[in-house]
């Protein structure tokens, strides 16, 4: 029974994967419509899984509250916010003015502020790179980043002068030529890695669904 179940799961993943994959390459109507159906199911399942994930999230925090685990008031706040938002969302729909208010005045400022935190984190990280790393990569990295910043940034004196223009050109050259070459190489490499990873799953060598 156990082996049977594992086989069924692996076979499902492989079968579905092959159909969807063939859809990329074959123009057969059968394959395409099958693929479309499978994709639709996948989107629906993923949405349901999201709801289950939310349930999971809720239960984790609920257990923290019920067991009075340290920091439980935070979890209580989370649950409250979740329930209020969800019920308002389900009641009025996500495009209702109420939701817009919640989004604009709670979600958006927090998310943007987190992004602003990232600015500081990146500066600190940059400082660490230049101050304590001693390898060639980091050196080139730091120099490049600095040139880009200088080439983009303000120019208090002599705005429009030849030095600024030169730095601006260097910035463009680095960003548009050198970086483009490296980026393409990385992209191709990542694509190779992705294909290999995907194929391992499709060959059932990796079975993240268990078994």
């Amino acid at each position: 029974m156990k082996i049977g179940a594992y086989l069924i799961w692996a076979a499902t993943a492989i079968g579905v994967g092959v159909v969807v994959l063939l859809g990329y390459f074959l123009d057969s109507q059968l394959v395409l419509s099958l693929r479309l159906a499978l994709m639709r199911w996948a989107v629906l399942i993923a949405a349901a899984a999201l709801l289950l994930g939310l349930w999971n999230l809720l239960s984790v925090h609920w257990s923290k509250v019920s067991e009075q685990y340290p920091g439980w008031p935070y979890s209580a706040l989370l649950i409250l916010a979740f329930l209020v938002t969800l019920s308002l969302g389900l009641m009025f729909g996500p495009d209702n003015a109420v939701m817009v208010v919640i989004f604009d005045y709670i979600q958006l400022p927090i998310e943007t502020s987190l992004m602003a935190l990232l600015a500081v984190s990146l500066v600190v990280a940059g400082y660490r790179v230049v101050a304590s790393r001693r390898d060639v990569s980091s050196l080139v990295f730091a120099v490049t980043a600095f040139l880009i910043l200088i080439g983009t940034g303000p120019w208090l004196i002599g705005n429009g002068g030849s030095l600024q223009i030169l730095l601006g050109e260097i910035r463009n050259w680095l960003a548009q030529v050198w970086a483009a070459g490296g980026a393409r190489g990385i992209l191709l490499g990542v694509a190779l890695g992705s294909i290999a990873t995907g194929l391992r799953v499709l060959l059932a060598a990796d079975r993240p669904y268990g078994g």
Binding site: K2, M39, E111, V123, V124, G126, R134, G153, A204
Partner: protein, 778 residues
């Protein structure tokens, strides 16, 4: 044969018990009994390490050991799991699939039969750590052989994974030291740094000193010896033998600190009084003496008990004076103050242990801010301690290992047999100071010495691994106890660099915003129009006004602030040209962001929903959905978002804006607003082929340019225009003749940029200076 004496508490036990019924100490040496008790150990030489070998074989997969395979035959289920990679090729895809079956169904039962029937080792191994703890708490005596043979090996194999051999230094010391002493270069120097570090570990066996245990936790688990110390006794003289017994036992146990007394730096010596600190209130001074003496004089056996008494009364003995260890009632008060110090010591070490990589030069420097206080204290005390005072320190180690001591004992015994020097000392010592105490005393060394000798001779050559295990276990239990100090440490660090940088950034941006006026800019505006901006502007400027433009809002809300400035210039431009706008998004929050952006920019233009703009809403399904949408927009999106009232219950496609749009090429342009390169690439690759002559524009966050650029520069471009980042947006606004969000951010942004550049320069200078100073330091 009928009775045996407990080496710990000297009480008589019946011969058939393995552990003392009074104090819980192990009576029969572990090593001797292991063959009989642990059926898992088939023979002395190889099999006890079966798990380790399997592991290491698997780890060293690339260089298969010849002897590994045959042994893996019957009971090597774990090995087979691991090496399933070695299956024949045709089984390949299924190899992993059969793992579970292999292990659960077929192999385990057989294996269990050949091993211990009731408790299989692999069940024990996972839990052993917990059980050591549990034992600490419950004061329950268990037989540790299986755990040691099983899990110790398992751990040593773990170690082997890294390819480092730590036998000499004690397993796992090097990470501790490494982070502490070479944190700055951990990144760049990598493994190269390790050898030196191991040397350091030799010199500074700091972490061998078990951290002081909070009294409450220790007490229940104390071995017999401690219990006695704690009980106030009427006849100290009679008590002494017992105490000494116990101490002798410790000595035999060959606790780690004995290893290299000579090389120990003062720092390591410090926490002397600490062993007694928890109990010290209850200890009479005689007992304290007895204990200290026992710790102290392993090498010097000439100290007799009468000497000790005299010493006690006169308080004249050198080392005591040096340590300023009180011998009278003041002992508790004076001993206590040092306890916190010694409690600090391990955490400091652990800091590095916990986060070698993260330990960062800056933050370490700031650690140093914390250090001086206690370091100073340590230094003070350390200066007072003469060489003699080291021995008490060595005594500390045993004293702080109460709960698991009985479990460790056999191994430690074994260790002391490896280190030959202590053996001699012990032999002499056993007879020496305790001679006055007659037969009782003699029994203990007699118990101890023989099994050392017999084991030692037989085991020396196979000892490395077990020695390593002992070290490992020792270390792991140490680590267990160090958990608490660890947690508190990161908070003590002051992230000064972070604070300074944050402050500078906030101040610079804040000041430039507060002092700036809407009309004039402190920082000069871009002097030149970026090369690619002209074509982009012209393209938007010449769009056919009768067809709607499609804007794709593919960014996370976090980027709103940037795109408020960057995308709004294009929105503004479109609105001024009265081009109807349709929006779509592949991000969950995208529709809201689109609505928000249109509302912001459209406020001055009196735009009407459904006439001037329409929101198609959320396009779920990622790249595939983009492809579907590109091929057949009307089928991919069946609804709308924020639809005007008259369209309630219908789709957005019914609106007058979109009624003529059947394909993507029916839009006047498609502009993708995105921060991620993936999204840009998906649109460039999936959608461009369906777009005919309709231009595809990219409005990008500043970092995404290099990946999109090739699509633009190519001889057959897939992207027809790129607008990147705030500076270009400002230039766009200038071209557009408007002062919008982009311009409003210009001053603050530039002030921030200046700070960033200054910070990077400072960092570079700091790095260079440190690099220049480094050779001198070494």
């Amino acid at each position: 044969m009928a009775e045996q004496r407990c080496p710990m508490c000297s009480k008589m036990n019946s011969d058939d018990v393995d552990v003392c019924v009074y104090c819980g100490a192990r009576l029969t040496p572990l090593v001797i009994s292991s063959g009989a008790e642990d059926s898992g150990k088939a023979d002395d030489s190889g099999t006890p390490d079966w798990l380790a070998r399997i592991r290491s074989d698997v780890e060293a997969n690339k260089e298969p050991e010849p002897e590994a395979q045959p042994e893996a035959g019957d009971d090597d289920w774990l090995g087979r799991l691991r090496t399933s990679g070695d299956l024949p090729p045709e089984e390949e895809p299924r190899a992993d699939a059969s793992k579970a079956t292999d292990s659960t169904a077929a192999d385990v039962p057989g294996w269990v039969d050949t091993r211990s029937p009731d408790e299989s080792v692999e069940q024990k191994a996972p839990e052993w750590l917990k059980r050591i703890r549990a034992r600490e708490r419950a004061e329950r005596v268990e037989e540790p052989q299986e755990e040691q043979s099983g899990s110790g090996d398992w751990l040593s194999s773990l170690r082997e994974k890294t390819g480092d051999t730590h036998e000499e230094t004690g397993m796992g010391e090097e990470p501790v030291i490494s982070s502490e002493f070479a944190p700055d270069d951990a990144v760049s120097e990598g493994e190269a740094g390790l050898p030196e570090i191991q040397d350091l570990a030799d010199v500074l066996p700091l972490d061998e000193i078990p951290p002081p245990e909070p009294p409450a936790d220790v007490e229940p688990a104390l071995p017999g010896g401690f219990e006695r110390i704690r009980k106030p006794t009427e006849e100290p003289v009679e008590k002494l033998p017992a105490d000494n017994d116990w101490l002798e036992a410790f000595k035999e146990a060959g606790i780690a600190a004995d290893d290299e007394p000579a090389s120990e730096p003062p720092v390591a010596d410090l926490p002397i009084p600490d062993i007694h600190a928890p109990e010290i209130e209850d200890v009479t001074d005689d007992e304290l003496f007895a204990a200290l003496e026992g710790f102290e004089d392993f090498p010097e056996q000439e100290k007799k008990e009468d000497e000790r008494v005299a010493f006690h009364e006169l308080e004249e003995v050198e080392w005591m004076g040096d340590v300023e260890l009180p011998t009278s009632d003041t002992a508790p008060e004076e001993a206590y103050p040092e306890e916190p110090i010694s409690q600090h010591t391990p955490p400091l070490i652990m800091d590095g242990d916990a986060s070698p990589g993260a330990a960062d030069s800056q933050e370490l420097d700031f650690d140093a801010i914390e250090l001086p206080e206690w370091l100073g204290e340590l230094q003070e005390t350390g200066d007072k301690i003469s060489g003699e005072a080291k021995q008490p320190d060595e005594g500390i180690t045993p004293a702080t290992l109460p709960a698991w001591l009985e479990a460790m004992r056999p191994i430690d015994t074994f260790r002391s047999s490896v280190e030959i020097e202590p053996v001699d000392d012990q032999a002499v010592e056993a007879a020496g100071p305790l001679a006055g105490l007659r037969g009782v005393l003699m029994a203990e060394p007699v118990v101890a010495i023989p099994h050392q000798a017999s084991i030692g001779s037989g085991r020396l050559d196979i000892s490395e691994r077990q020695f390593a295990q002992a070290e490992l276990l020792h270390r792991m239990v140490d680590d267990e106890e160090r958990e608490l100090p660890l947690e508190s440490l990161p908070q003590r660090r002051l992230p000064l660099v972070r604070w300074v940088i944050s402050l500078l950034l906030l101040l610079a941006i804040g000041i430039s915003i507060v002092t700036g006026t809407p009309d004039t800019n402190t920082f000069p505006l871009p002097a030149r129009v970026p090369r690619d901006l002209g074509p982009f502007f012209t393209l938007v400027d010449e769009l056919p006004a009768e067809r709607p433009a499609l804007l794709v809002f593919d960014f996370a809300p976090g980027y709103t602030a940037e795109f408020d400035a960057v995308a709004s210039v294009v929105l503004e431009h479109l609105m001024r040209r009265n081009i109807a706008i349709a929006t779509v998004s592949t991000q969950v929050n995208g529709p809201l962001l689109a609505a928000r952006a249109i509302e912001r920019s459209g406020a001055q233009h009196d735009l009407v929903n459904g006439v001037d703009y329409i929101h198609l809403g959320y396009l779920s399904g990622g790249p595939t959905a983009v492809q579907l949408f590109a091929a057949a927009p009307r089928e991919a999106i069946l609804q709308g978002f924020f639809l005007p009232d008259e369209l309630e219950g219908q789709t957005a496609w019914v609106s007058p804006i979109l009624q003529d749009v059947e394909r993507l090429s029916d839009f006047s342009m498609v502009a993708v607003i995105t921060a991620g390169t993936d999204s840009a690439r998906v649109w460039a690759e999936q959608a461009h082929t369906f777009m005919g002559d309709t231009p595809l524009l990219m409005i990008l966050s500043a970092g995404a340019e290099p990946l999109v650029r090739p699509y633009y520069e190519s001889l057959s471009p897939q992207v027809d225009g790129i607008l990147t980042g705030l500076p270009q947006a400002v230039a766009y606004e200038q071209m557009n003749g408007l002062a919008g969000d982009a311009l409003a951010r210009w001053d603050g942004f530039n002030a921030g940029m200046l700070v960033v550049e200054a910070v990077l320069l400072t960092g570079a200078m700091y790095g260079v200076i440190r690099w220049l100073l480094k050779p001198r330091r070494s």
